[in-house]
Amino acid sequence: MTVPRQDAGHRPIHERIADFSEVEQTLNDSSRQLQASRCMDCGVPFCHWACPLGNKQPEWQDAVYKGKWELAYKLLSATNDFPEFTGRICPALCEKSCALNLCIDAPVTVRENECSIIEHAFREGYVQPNTYARNGKKVAIIGAGPAGLSASVRLNCLGYDVTLFDKMPSAGGLVRYGIPNFKLDKYVIDRRMAIMEQEGIKFQFNTMVDLNDLPKGFDAYIISNGTPTARDLKIPGRELKGVYFALQMLTQQNLRLAGKEFTPEETVSAKGKKVLVIGGGDTGSDCIGTCHRQGAVSVTQIEIMPKPPVGYNPATPWPQWPNILKTTTSHEEGCERRWCLTSNKFLDDGKGNLKGVEVETVEWVPNPEGGRPIMKPTGQKEIIDCDMVLLAMGFLKPEHPQYAENVFLAGDAKNGASLVVRALASGREVAAQVDAYLKNK
């Protein structure tokens, strides 16, 4: 507790806002080791408990502290096959439940430590493809997002022949096509894919699999196609030009950076626009950062729920995930944020283009039956000027038919939209289920 927490920090706003490169900076090794030394190696490590993957933070942080990077990598990769993803974009449940978060509001920089371990490992060449004895059984995975990738790696280790199908041109799912490059540069995924391919995992891209007619020739199937349906806002004016789903823009931007070109009609860009982001979550925040980089005039973000408390929320005490106001790097880059606003209708400029949104302030009253509070409109309406709306209101939990017994679900496809780390955990879990199922066949 004598060493203060030191975040690696971010590139200066004026610099980073001009490009799509990663915002986060890195510490040098000795500072990183010092940060890792802050871990108290708790008798009951809440970080480890909070982590869906069950990462053993105290163990690898101790290794980092002692400069045993390779050991740290081994320990980390034992529970997490993609630390380079989570090390960048995980909201770090571990840090929220770190004992130091409770005691001095300055948890160990677990996520950054994680990231530095894997980057160190790549740099030093610890990450090498392995070969595993084949067991002759084949598994198809539909959806090469984090859950699918995670399942594929695990099954491949166990000797299964794994083929990943994805409708997109490359692997990663939302990690590749949802998350902006300034949070996670895509070479990170490519680097991992290369290893996976060398380990014998097959990818079949640009392939839309009909879930009712799964490809033949596999002993088992995993469906990990995520949550294809974003939650829509069915209010008057939805059809107006300028109203998009967040992912429409985010995916396009990612594809564009990957070299794909779009016609002007296809293009969804905030350049020169006044943007309104509806939805106060992480996707909304990603939209904000992307809009800035595209050259938006202004960005406003509204959220239907009330503003969460700043700093500490007694309703979600440690070691739970704190429901508190979260300010991302994108918010720092400039954005007006408002809460308790519901959208009533999109306004037409007369030419089929959006010119604003009518919003209404709402109140939330406690639900007498418990559970989620009840929303009450106040009648206090106003119009927000904008010529682009991005809907970032989450995704609908997919529904699935009854599949055959050799078909398994994983990730968001199974649980609904959630964190990358949960998808990864789900992938590992399903791999174990598949293995248990096939071992006895």
């Binding site: 708790c42 008798g43 480890h48 069950g54 053993k56 081994k74 409770l102 005691c103 440690w318 739970q320």
Partner: protein, 1488 residues
Amino acid sequence: MIKTRGLYDPQNEHDACGIGMMVDLKGNKTHELVDSSLTILENMKHRGAEAADNKSGDGAGIMLQIPHEFILLQGIPVPERLKYGTGLVFLPKDKKLRDSYLDIIREEVARMGLELTHVREVPVNSDILGDAAKATEPFTAQIFVTGSSEQEGLETLLYKIRKHVEQRIDDGDFYIVSLSSRIMVYKGMLSSTQLREYYPDLSSPFFTSAIAMVHSRFSTNTFPTWSLAQPFRMLAHNGEINTIRGNRGWMEARESVLTSKTLGEVSDIHPIVQPNMSDSASFDNVLEFFVRSGMSLPHAMAMMIPESFNEKNPISNKLKAFYEYHSILMEPWDGPAAMLFTDGRYAGGMLDRNGLRPARYLITDDGKLIMASETGTIHVDATKVIEKGKLQPGKILLVDTDNGQIIRNDEIKNMLASECPYSEWLSEGRVELAKLKSGRKAEDAVQDYTRRLRAFDYTREDIDRVIVPMCQTAQEPLSSMGNDTQLAVLSDRPQLLFNYFRQQFAQVTNPPIDPIREELVMSLTEYIGAVGMNILTPSEGHCKMVRLPQPVLTNTELDTLRNIRYKGFNTEILPILYEKAKGAKGMADAIQDLCRQAEKSVEAGINYIILSDRGIDDTHAAIPSLLAVSAIHHYLVSVQKRVQTALIVESGEIREVMHVALLMGYGASAVNPYMAFAVIDDLVKKGEIQLDLETARHNYIKAIDKGLKKILSKMGISTIRSYRGAKIFEAIGLSQELLSKYFGTASSTIGGVTLEGLAKDAERMHGQGFGADTPDSVLPFVGQYSFRKDGIRHAWTPEAISTLQLATRLGSYKKFQEFCSIVDDKKEPLFLRDFFKFKTNPIPVDEVEPASNIVKRFIGAAMSFGAISKEAHEAIAIALNTLESRSNTGEGGEDSERFYNNVDGVSLSSKIKQVASGRFGVTAEYLVNAKEIQIKVAQGAKPGEGGQLPGFKVNEVIARTRNSIAGISLISPPPHHDIYSIEDLAQLIFDLKNVNPEAKISVKLVAESGVGTIAAGVAKAKADLVVISGSEGGTGASPASSIRYAGVSPEIGLSETQQTLVLNDLRKEIEVQVDGQLKTPRDVISMALLGAGEFGFGTAQLIVLGCLLMRKCHTNACPVGVATQDPALRAKFRGHSQYLINYYTFLAEGVRELLAQLGFRRFEDIIGRTDLIEIDSTKFTEKTSHLDFSRMLTKIDGALFKTQDQHHLIDDVLDRKIIADSKSVIEKGGKVDLSYDIINTNRSTGAMLSGEVAKHYGHEGLADDSINVTFKGSAGQSFGAFLMKGVSFKLVGEANDYVGKGLSGGRISILPFEGTKYEAQDNIIAGNTILYGATSGEIFINGRVGERFAVRNSGATAVVEGTGDHCCEYMTGGRVVVLGTTGRNFAAGMSGGLAYVWDKNHDFDYYCNMDMIELDLIEDKAGRDELRSLIEKHYAATGSKLAKQMLDDWEHYVGEFIQVTPIEYRRILQEERMKALQQKIDSVQRDY
């Protein structure tokens, strides 16, 4: 004979007592001597005990010379004196049976060519007996055997006859009390006052003797049988043989080499040790055997209870050689012992090496020697006394009544040492390992390193948390909080066999030793080789041994031993492996083969056998080394070939101290942990330990040695030789079958794993390393010491912790129920109680007694302020005081402000005041502010161990509450230095009860097998409450291995306690409290059904206050401000007393609901109702299905809960009179002078008076010399205990042990009887352990005292004229002046205060333990002035001649004084001086 019932096992009985002896030096036989010795016995009544019927004694007896005249007067035709044998025989009441036994005796007598001439029915007075004694009363006959003319031969024949009869009659109702031509014994299940009445013979004026030896017994339970009363055939023993299991085993093993000239073949008298008797009886058997084999009595005694003879002991080299020679032949019988012995001609006494029992003697000018546990047991005219003394540790005092001579220790020992050229024999025969040079060097690295690591189940924790710290610090690693993991038998991971075992430890009935401060009595020296045949004949040949300084061998040393071809040594390696494919059968066969091979090796003359698992490979798995060693050890014992060889274990399994201890405990002489060495080698090569290999390995071995000493000392054992094979462990979760076949243990507490299970685990472990795949070099981390999702199960999970904190913070009962379900409904059982199911019979909840009643049964477990923060400590006190329950100060005392301060009308004072071995802050004021005074005998996490609060943690406030100085280390000794034995505990209870008659006295024990019998002893010592602490209990800091391996589950300990107490009908008088990982209402009900009436909560309580179970308490870095003294961290404390109130209230509510389900309205109705427990067999796995709960759940009929109070016998103590006589002074002040006569049965004089004063005036007390009392006579124990300021006691006469215990400001002076003839400074005037835990006050003693003077003194001033061993031990403050010689080990562990010692022989430094002190001449004036004024005071108080002499020639004498200054104290003095100088400098500068 009471049989094993439930968990109660008569094997566990302990006893202790008072002993006495009176000898006429000239051999004049008188009845007066018989009569006086009975008086001595009667005056030691308080050292014996009585049963629950308050009438049956535990046993009393007397040994006398055969009263020839008396026998003649009975009209019995006997030949002349010494030409016939006689003795009492206990026979069954049934006449037919009795006659048949007498016929057997007659036959056996005839077989030896003698004649049974007469059988006399001994008159007895049965009316006086208590019920228990009456129920087992035998028919007592006296038999007379004649027919031999040769006296010595007659004794031998009589011995043989007795042994033959014993061989033929196996009946608990039959017992030959004695059979001799010289002595006879009268004894029985009597109290000491009943003996005289029961046997009218003893009152006959014609009954004469020149020697009389008496004994009064205090047994830990009430099934003492008539035969177990003492004296036995040669001795009376006060104390306990800790190593008895090993000694008995080795004696049996040794029988084959004990052929003697006089006795012939040993098989003829087999077994030497009579089965099913007490430790003392076994000792007596062996002693008698040696004496009958031709060894002299003192020789046999010196061999069996040798002095400590390492370099710190001032005895001659010749004598050291004597001891070393005999140590090869026999391991010491170790434990506290005051032994009185006689063979009818010689009579004497002796103490153990540590002098742990008192024995005082005096010699009169008319030729009488009186020796007893206490002085003053009989009135002797002071003018007739020519010498007063006490027996010294390891020393003998002997009288030869034929020659009328007293033979002193030095004379005897010199005689013994000169009998044979022992030194020469040793230097010829005995080889020292270090001196063997083979020129070979063995590698530490091994092939297939990773495979082997995994096959021996190494984890990363083993390496990082055990081996690395051991290499770096040469210490075992520390940890904190309790052990909340699964028992080995419940775990689904493969287990090392070691994990099933738990260390046993000494509590109450014998003291643990301090292996650091009292290292002089410890020894790890081992001898390996074959003991030759006929060891009774002294011979050089017996020394052909290799001496090992300690038992861990390096690879090179093992290699040397393996290849030794020197002086005819030879070795054999037996692989402890089996073919994995053959499974359990293969393992069993392999073990059998090993046993046979070992036997063959012995026959072939192999000196030592190396058991090795180095050969493990793809197909061969290792047999657990412990199993192999134990199996071979027991097999060789059974074929009488054990002592002819030694076992060395070379195993990859060994890594921790516990492993080494277990192997030694089951028979190994040395071990080689080659995998641990390989790990160290690897770590060094990788640079992870930055030491060279040599040093790292050396440190590791040193850490094991230290740890071993600690484990030995926990059991009160000082040498590894007596520990080896002593099996001082208990197995939890191994099946009966396995234990009896391979471990020589007859019973298993809860059954468990069979050989099949062990083989399965061995196979799994082997597969980890030698499976198909190349194993990963990164070893698993299994979560032994910290929680891991995929690791070993812990009871405190993150969910449980956070839910409980949330529930209590929000005050949400619903959340609390969520917490309970997390804890109670876990999938896998963690504790034994998790298998319980309750029989239900629901009634409405509102019929059950209210929560406010139930909550009073919940007690805050002891946690000292010092270990936890002020905030946390006070929050606990407030919460429990609000609930009208009780919190506990812990051992660190309590700031006296808290006695009187309130918060919102709630007292801040903890209602339970703990008294632990450190006696920190235990003053009269502290004690009178208690509702309960708890004597902490042991702590769950580290039973039998002391503790140390390092100086840097002792801040001003802690120093104040502990009556010490900030910055000075505070050491808690492992034992209470006033509890070495059960009667000592009774005395301490009596002391405390006197100080505060209103307070309940409780005794805290730790669960182990045998705790039930100890609890029974505690009940008989008149405690009001006994706490059974589960081994899982928490701690602020303790060696990690103690947390894991000492003590057993609370379920087992509690259940045994309840069963034993009920069986004894003692439960009705004593409440039983339990603690150890209790959390939920279900836990409370489970424990109540097993017998508990109160429940302690420790860890749960801290968690409610914010503890996150970081296990960082020992680092002072607790980030939530609970277990730290750092003000910055304390500021982070977020707990509140209300949270605890919520917790306890919820708990009580939950208990009510469960009571309703069970169908009971009152809590007490379920106490002890084990019949309401069912075992939930759905929770069994393949491994646990062999568990057997039937012993644990046996319900004994009788009173199941407490209904009545103890009789404390404090109604007519002398203090009542003193208080009445000084009433006006106590109430109004003023001054009073009083005087009284005093005798040794006036115990704890001054304690009650001090309690009264403290109640009125607090610690301030009265004005100096307000109450002045002069006593004349021999004061009983604890004279002036806790004496308050303003009270001055002057004792003219003498005193026993514990004078001025806990002195709280009073003044005591002791001077000899008027008219004494001897020089005061040469004689013992007061006993052992004086000023223990004194905090302030003064004491002046005109004479010498016994062992441990001023132990743990923290502020009193003392002047004395000579002391025994260990003077000023653990002292932290005050002044001690010794005007005379001291014993060994002066100032051990002394961290504060000063001592001045008159070094008249200029050898004082030899007697000092220099670890923590420096010696100087007194050079500064302040020191000289202080010393002079103290001696002046001494002179004024006692009129000491010596003091006068010194004052008259001051300049001469002052130059002969040595000043003893603790180094820490010196540093602080210097700092203070610097500070003062600085201040002065500052002020000087201002003046300019």
